[in-house]
């Protein structure tokens, strides 16, 4: 019997930080590895590869996803934004820029390994619910593991941007 051999590589085309990307990728490669190893976008970090730590969080078609739980081939046709794109200044009406400033001023990062993902996770909340309470901010960030800070300065920074954005 002639069983067709499963494809080990596929062609994909998608947008990363506004740039068109066309590549042949191994079907088993996850999106985080593709972005890091093939495109050199090393701001997306890999902390657990099982979807718990949140360090690989990025934006796919407007929502945050775990890049370690998504295959690169699944990104075909998608609009991907990583920290490198979000950090360019005016992304999302400068929400990320505001967050970066507050994180810096309040030392809401130490080793920085969780930081790019933490910013993108926080930006989603600021955009959707700038009136979020402190408890809601803590809950929203609870998929992003930070081992260095006590989370408090991160919560302070996000709260500050929320307050300035919601006018409260």
């Amino acid at each position: 019997m002639n069983t067709p051999k499963p494809a080990t590589e596929l062609d994909v085309a998608f947008t990363v930080n506004g740039e068109r990307v066309e590549r042949r990728v191994p079907v088993r490669q996850n999106l985080a590895d593709f972005l890091r190893d093939t495109l050199g976008l090393t701001g997306t970090h890999v902390g657990c590869e099982h979807g718990v730590c949140g360090a690989c969080t990025l934006r796919c078609n407007g929502v945050i996803v775990r890049a370690c739980l998504m295959l690169a081939v699944q990104a075909d046709g998608a609009d991907i934004v990583t920290i490198e794109g979000a950090a360019t200044g005016n992304y999302d009406g400068a929400i990320v820029a505001d967050l970066q400033r507050e994180f810096h001023q309040r030392n809401a990062l130490q080793c920085g390994f969780c930081t790019p993902a933490m910013l993108l996770t926080a930006a989603e909340l600021v955009a959707a619910r700038p009136q979020a309470s402190r408890e809601e901010i803590r809950a929203h960030l609870s998929g992003n593991y930070c081992r260095c800070t006590g989370y408090q300065s991160i919560v302070d920074a996000v709260e500050s941007v929320c307050r300035s954005r919601s006018g409260t």
């Binding site: 701001g43 970090h45 718990v52 001023q105 803590r138 930070c146 260095c148 800070t149 006590g150 408090q152």
Partner: protein
């Protein structure tokens, strides 16, 4: 010593944002795994699935010819080029361990021990090839219970050692037997702290690149200690240190876990040496759980003798802990036990004292130093006893502590066991804390809510903590780890200063500390001080960061270098002006007249004259605008700090769940360089201690299998569970340096677990249940309440 000359500059003590945080915020940090040099190979490591097993046969032939594979290394391959290591401290009497190699040769002694390494063109191909390695195992009996490890019928892991004991230490002072014989009251408990792990978000990572043409090995390493690694790699691979350069770029968390030698990393270095090309190894998360050093798995039986009036007559503690199958290298696995036996009730007039600490070998993951080494265990025991005693005597826990703190006249105080407490601020810390948290108000609230069936508890935990360690920690034990640090400053041609420091950085703020100290002391604008760290080729020799030493030791070296550079600049200007150096000062990058503030020369003009217009420099004068100064703690074994924490919790007596309502810390780290950094360091450290108190535990089966080795199963604290943590300070600068800074990085971890445990027990008080084991899981609470049997 006199107060540091800060010349009206204010960057010491200023809450300045960190310069080197900006690139991290933009995703432009550079961690080791972000580097991919040309021809880089990727390593994957085969690990033992058994806790103890003999390798009956090993066949790597199929793996060696798998797609993408360049080389497979076995234990024998690496043994041929790497000298074995033994992790003992020579100044710990009787300490022993067995020789260890990077990859297991004949047998594996813990689940996860590295056995073989595959280097391939991609990590995926390397992992594919691992599956083709044929290995036959013969299981051996395991030692997994510390309590029975020393029994005569328990198998001995290393027969040549004659038993499973790594070391035993006894510390005594006074007549403990008499103290207990006279006691009107005795309180006692068995305290258990669970083995847990650092769980840095960035896993261990190494990239070694050996250039056979010039014999130079460059190693990019996620490490806290580049110089230690340089020495180790050179020594064990038989290279000259001048052949080895270790670079620690951005490091994604260390917490003491990245100061040890790991077989998989050493094997990656071996692969690069053999292949003459870059080889990278990144531990994945599952490998991290079984590969990283664990810590804190102690059982301490302790008791306290009290007089009728509530004086402490004596304290006794018996500490037992199970390490891995080998003592860690190169630092040994003794330090937890040394600190526990030193520090039980060390914050108090503890009367007669006897503490025994024993470490035993087990077939579990390697074990050793992790943030606040031993202190959280000593604190849990001490503060647990203090609360039991206060309850027995019917005295408020805060008042009971107040009565028993060391008296302010007793300093410097040498503790039995060796440590010297230079000067503590316990009474002031306690009063500050009680005020911050409104202790009286919370007690009233607690009482009122009891009547409504709401059970809240308040827990206090005083701690003393070593920092700025001297050579007593490692050097005296024959371990080649620097206890001195240095800073080299150079004035740039445009009047800035470049500081090369032996401090390293995992986010604590090492860069910022050096920048702020140098700016303050030299009178150079903060933004014009650039700091170079983490590279054995471009920084002076030093110990790196661990043991709360970075700010206190490296910061002092920077201060002394700053003073020297400033003196050299002023001597030069004075000579040019044909005047006296003492008449000048430097402020905001300008040399000024000290009296009038009148500007004399910019630092740029000074540098230009020295470097480009040597014709204007007097023939008999050579300005020295590059200086190096060093510092080591030599007065005591370390600069002991102190502090106190409080936790306020609510316990649901139906479910056993704990809600953290508040947490307060008062810490004394002497001179604070940057309060923004110190406070969040303390909070982060507290959260690690809270994690230990409530969640974290490496659960092993009796067969030595780690049962919860993933982030799905091993719980770490997330934002949602943590309370806001209020931080206050007392300030007792150490007189052993001019800067006066003591450690701050471990204080939070030292006391947090004890505060949470005491708060929980305070909540449980009316029910008569006591929990003395962490993590305090709902199950343990329900058992204490008698709701589960």
């Amino acid at each position: 010593m006199s107060a540091p000359d800060r010349s009206g500059n204010t960057t010491i003590g200023a809450a300045l944002p960190r310069t080197n945080a900006l690139r991290l915020l933009s995703g432009r940090g550079q961690y080791v795994d972000d580097l991919n040099p040309p021809r880089c190979l990727h390593a994957a490591v085969l690990r033992s699935p058994y806790a103890h097993a003999r390798i009956a046969s090993l066949d790597v032939a199929a793996a060696a010819i798998a797609p993408g594979v360049v080389r497979v290394l076995t234990g024998r391959d690496v043994a041929a080029m790497c000298d074995p290591y033994v992790g003992v401290l020579k100044h710990v009497p009787g300490m022993q361990s067995a020789a260890q190699l990077p990859l297991a040769v004949d047998r594996a002694c813990w689940q996860g021990e590295p056995v073989a390494l595959v280097a391939a063109t991609t990590r995926a191909e390397a992992e594919d090839a691992l599956a083709l390695i044929e290995i036959e195992w013969e299981e051996l009996p395991v030692v997994t219970d510390a309590e029975t490890a020393l029994h005569p019928d328990t198998p001995v892991i290393h027969p040549e050692l004659g038993g499973n004991l790594c070391f035993e230490r006894v510390v005594t002072e006074g007549d403990v037997a008499a103290a207990f014989a006279q006691a009107a009251h005795v309180v006692e408990a068995e305290f258990i702290t669970s083995r847990h792990t650092a769980a840095t978000l960035e896993p261990r990572t190494i990239l070694a690149d050996f250039n056979a043409a010039d014999g130079q090995l460059t190693v990019w390493h996620s490490t806290q200690v580049p110089y230690m690694m340089q020495w180790i790699i050179a020594r064990h691979f038989r290279l000259a240190e001048t052949q080895v350069r270790v670079i620690a770029p951005d490091v994604g968390g260390g917490f003491g876990m990245k100061i040890h030698i790991y077989g998989d990393e050493m094997a990656a270095v071996a692969a690069s040496l053999l292949l003459g090309r870059p080889v990278k190894f990144v531990a994945d998360r599952l490998e991290s759980f079984v590969g990283d050093f664990h810590a804190r798995g102690h059982r301490v039986r302790a008791r306290m003798a009290l007089s009728k009036d509530g004086d402490i007559l004596g304290v006794e503690a018996d500490d037992l802990y199970g390490i891995g199958p080998y003592s860690g290298y190169p630092r040994g696995s003794a330090n937890e036990g040394l600190q526990v036996s030193n520090l039980v009730c060390a914050a108090y007039r503890r009367g007669a004292y006897r503490a025994v600490s024993r470490a035993v070998f087990q077939n579990k993951a390697m074990y050793g130093q992790y943030r606040a080494v031993g202190h959280p265990v000593a604190c849990l025991v001490s503060e647990g006893l203090m609360d039991l005693a206060a309850a027995k005597l019917g005295i408020d826990p805060a008042e009971f502590r107040r009565r028993h703190y060391l008296s302010p006249e007793s300093y410097p105080l040498k503790l039995a066991g060796g440590p010297v407490l230079e000067k503590l601020s316990q009474h002031e810390a306690l009063e500050t804390l009680l005020q911050m948290m409104d202790y009286a108000g919370l007690r009233t609230e607690q009482k009122k809510l009891r009547t409504q069936g709401i059970h809240r508890g308040i827990g206090l935990a005083s701690f003393v903590e070593n920092s700025n360690p001297s050579a007593a920690t490692y050097g005296q034990g024959g371990v080649s780890i620097a206890s001195q640090d240095s800073c080299t400053l150079k004035l740039t041609a445009t009047g800035g200063v470049v500081a090369a420091s032996s401090i390293t950085e995992c986010g604590q703020g090492g860069y910022a500390v050096i920048q702020q100290v140098v700016a303050a002391v030299c009178g150079v604008p903060f933004a014009q001080v650039k700091v170079v760290i983490g590279d054995t080729e471009t920084t002076p020799v030093g110990g790196g960061v661990w043991g709360s030493r970075g700010t206190g030791i490296c910061g002092e070296a920077a201060l002394q270098a700053g003073k020297a550079l400033k003196a050299n600049i002023l001597a030069f200007v004075a000579r040019l002006q044909e005047s006296e150096a003492s008449l000048y000062d430097i402020r905001d990058g300008q040399v000024i007249r000290a009296q009038s503030g009148e500007e004399v020369m910019t630092l740029e003009a000074v540098a230009r004259t020295a470097y480009f217009r040597t014709d204007q420099v007097p023939k008999d004068f050579q300005p020295e605008l590059t200086v190096t100064r060093s510092y080591a703690q030599k007065t005591y074994n370390g600069a002991y700090t102190n502090g106190i924490q409080a936790s306020y919790v609510e316990v649901d007596t139906e479910t056993g769940f704990i809600k953290l309502l508040g947490h307060w810390v008062v810490d004394d780290c002497g001179t604070v360089i940057n309060p923004l950094l110190v406070d969040e360091q303390i909070r982060g450290a507290c959260v690690q201690g809270i994690g230990a108190a409530l969640f974290e535990q490496c659960v092993y089966s009796p067969e030595g299998q780690l049962m919860n080795g993933s982030l799905m199963d091993y719980l770490v604290p997330m934002a949602g569970e943590m309370p806001d943590i209020e931080v206050g300070h007392t300030c007792t600068p150490t007189a052993t340096s001019e800067l006066g800074a003591k450690g701050a990085g471990e204080a939070g971890t030292a006391g947090a677990s004890a505060a949470v445990l005491n708060a929980t027990n305070d909540a449980l008080g009316p029910f008569g249940g006591v929990v003395s084991e962490i993590p305090v899981t709902p199950e343990r609470i329900l058992r204490a309440l008698g709701r589960l049997s």
